[in-house]
Amino acid sequence: MKPDTWKSALLSVLIAALFIGVWHLATLPKAATAQSAANDEYAVLLGKTSAKQTGFPPPLEIGKAIVKYLGDPFYDHGPNDKGIAIQLGHSLGRVGIGFLLAALVAIPLGFTIGMSPLIYRALDPFIQVLKPISPLAWMPLALYTIKDSNISGIFVIFICSLWPMLINTAFGVAGVRRDWLNVARTLEVRPLRRAFTVILPAAAPTIVTGARISMGIAWLVIVAAEMLVGGTGIGYFVWNEWNNLALPNVIFAILMIGLVGMALDHLFAMLQKWVTYAE
């Protein structure tokens, strides 16, 4: 086991190095085109004389952006220019609130649906219609009715986190082994106690899997939602740098989005391990 982990880690590093190497070679500046008149005013106005970035940025530029932003993650230069940690904090806050609200609705509702085939069949068409709607399609409607861009962002996270958790909870609850329920019935366990001590632990792995999928989607959606609504958050950061066509900063933001997404997923993986049981 141990040597294998080492090998795979080494391989990962090699792949990264190869990728960056190829990237570096591919973006090497072309042999300086003879700019005969370097002080030509036209060239100056096009920014040719200063170090202007043209074409796809080389890895070194990304490195500079990483050092610049991670070196001072908490700066606050007014409402439209904040450090990367503050932006990520705003995004995580929105995702957290939206996700918690979704969990508060999805898990109890999922329980009800899972325990009653009648309700399941009655609600099924609605779930099937609402599930495939892109969360961003809700945005104009949300802005119009909720009348607050920040809450609209949270609503979008809520609506997209809801379905995987709801469906997985219902599925997990419905799939609890008959024998266990029968044993509970023989022992005359009250319904509420049965829900918490028999069904919940039994369905927990499926529920957490649903939550993990939901969180993944929420993190995907928040970036798009913030690009649309603006103000704060990592999505706004990407949008603001896109305005300036500052690709190194955009790539840096992409990297951060990936890392945070991985961390969130890892958190749920640990939770999953904790609730999993062997039959």
Binding site: Y42, L45, L46, G47, H77, P79, D81, Y144, L228
Partner: protein, 457 residues
């Protein structure tokens, strides 16, 4: 604190940092001793606060300020900056205070040079001088500006000149009475085409082109439609016009999604800077002196907060006054270029504001009137906008041109406040003007509309 220090002394630091002379534990301690030594009276100090704010805005990097002062000397710098900057006027206004109904305000803006006056009023301290604490919030699109104003997330906002008219009429929006306080900017737009269309300078060759404009209810849309229609193209049939938020125009032009755009600066210049497009025609050559954006607020806000609104008026007009003077344009470019505001290379903003620019075809052009910031909200401008809205079918039926114009555009208030800050306002309310050489008489809007061959109504 450092705000009380002489900002025209290169030895002083304005930002946070340790003591400048090195003899004291902290800068605060150093200052305390320093001030005792100077024995400065309160007035001088409060003046210094304003001066420091200005210097900090002009030179966000403290080292640059110090280099600048070291190079030209304190008295030259003071004279140069005082001559362009109305320090005196600011202090006079700060003295005259009416109780403000609301002093913490949120104002939305789109990161384009049109927004210069309302945005620069923040870093330069014009709002603070009026006792207002204003947060200028960058916004992703015009549709979002509209929604945030309707939702009362913004107290007032940067808006396209036709937007308040459309919103008040409930066209493309739920109806909300919105007033135009001032015009933000005049001219300053352009038609930019992708470099591959270098040889298609005649609009007759544009059949099938895809163009971007920032919003349906924008001068950009109406000017582009007017322009192509004058060359015999029907803007609804012969070309495609789509709405793209200004900041995304250059990216779309580069990707080949659009052939060109009639967009706000700095994105025309940015397309040139990034070598993806060239400037086909400046909007000033379509209609010299056309309005573009406005400073607008819901009528309800205007009614409920008269003193606050008057203070806002003065702050924004002070900024307009400063922005109109060509001498100040390089300073404005410097102030607006950081990420918190327009987030653009300084040279791009400078080319837009000074009118000495690269056109993307290898020429340096010199058009000092490329962008201007005349704040006067002529009723005739609103009437022209309404004629075009009717022409292209955005409004139908009989239009009460004058009634709507006089209800939405606050010309009388603008005139009064312009006098307060010392801007000469015209005496007339309506003026004739020429668009592509064709005269518009605001007294005869229907006849004007009849005279066009290509129209929807």
């Amino acid at each position: 604190m450092s705000a009380f220090k002489d900002p025209f002394d290169y030895r002083n630091r304005l930002g946070a940092g340790s003591c400048t002379c090195g003899k004291h534990q902290s800068q605060a301690e150093h200052d305390a001793v320093d001030e005792l030594a100077i024995g400065a009276d309160e007035d001088t100090l409060s003046q210094r606060v304003i001066e420091s704010a200005v210097m900090r805005a002009i030179f966000p990097d403290d080292n640059k300020r110090r280099d600048f002062l070291r190079a030209v000397g304190k008295s030259t710098a003071l004279a140069a900056i005082s001559s362009v900057f109305p320090f005196g006027a600011l202090e006079a206004m700060a003295a005259d205070k009416l109780p403000l109904e609301k002093s913490n305000l949120k104002i939305g803006f789109i990161p384009i040079t049109c927004s210069s006056p309302i945005v620069m009023a923040e870093p330069l301290g014009f709002y603070r001088a009026q006792g207002l604490s204003v947060e200028v919030v960058k916004t992703a699109s015009w549709a979002l500006i509209r929604d945030k104003v309707i939702n009362k997330e913004y107290d007032a906002s940067h808006m396209l000149a036709p937007m308040p008219i459309a919103m008040s009429l409930g066209v493309g929006s739920s109806p909300l009475a919105v007033n135009v306080a001032t015009i933000q900017n005049t001219n300053g737009q352009a038609i930019t085409l992708a470099l591959k269309h270098k040889d298609k300078r005649d609009p007759k060759m544009w059949k099938g082109f895809k163009f971007a404009v920032p919003f349906d209810y924008s001068m950009h849309n109406f000017l582009l439609r007017y322009y192509v229609a004058e060359y015999g193209l029907d803007p609804d049939k012969d070309i495609q016009i789509r709405v793209v938020p200004p900041p995304e125009m250059v990216a779309n032009l580069r990707a080949g999604n659009i052939d060109g755009f009639l967009g706000p600066d700095p994105f025309n210049q940015r397309a040139v800077y990034d070598e993806v497009g060239f400037i086909h025609i400046l909007s000033k050559d379509i209609w010299d002196g056309h309005p573009c954006c406005s400073f607008a607020a819901p009528a309800e806000f205007v009614k409920q907060n008269p003193n606050t609104f008057a203070a806002l008026y003065r702050a924004v007009l002070t900024a307009s006054k400063m922005a109109r003077d060509p001498k100040n344009r390089p300073i404005i470019a410097e102030v607006l270029s950081p990420p918190n505001y327009l987030n653009q290379p300084k040279t791009v903003l400078e080319q837009v504001l000074t009118g000495r620019f690269a056109d993307g075809l290898g020429q340096v052009q010199n058009v000092p009137t490329r962008a201007d910031f005349d704040p006067f909200p002529w009723y005739s401008m609103a009437v022209w906008i309404l004629t075009q809205m009717k022409r292209w079918g955005y409004v139908k039926g009989d239009v009460q041109y004058k009634d709507i114009a006089e209800k939405v555009y606050l010309l009388t208030d603008a005139r009064r406040h312009m006098a307060e800050v010392g801007i000469a306002a015209p005496k007339e309310n309506y003026a004739k003007f020429k668009v592509l050489g064709k005269e518009f008489d605001p007294m005869k809007p229907d006849a004007y509309l009849e005279s066009f061959a290509i129209k929807r109504s």
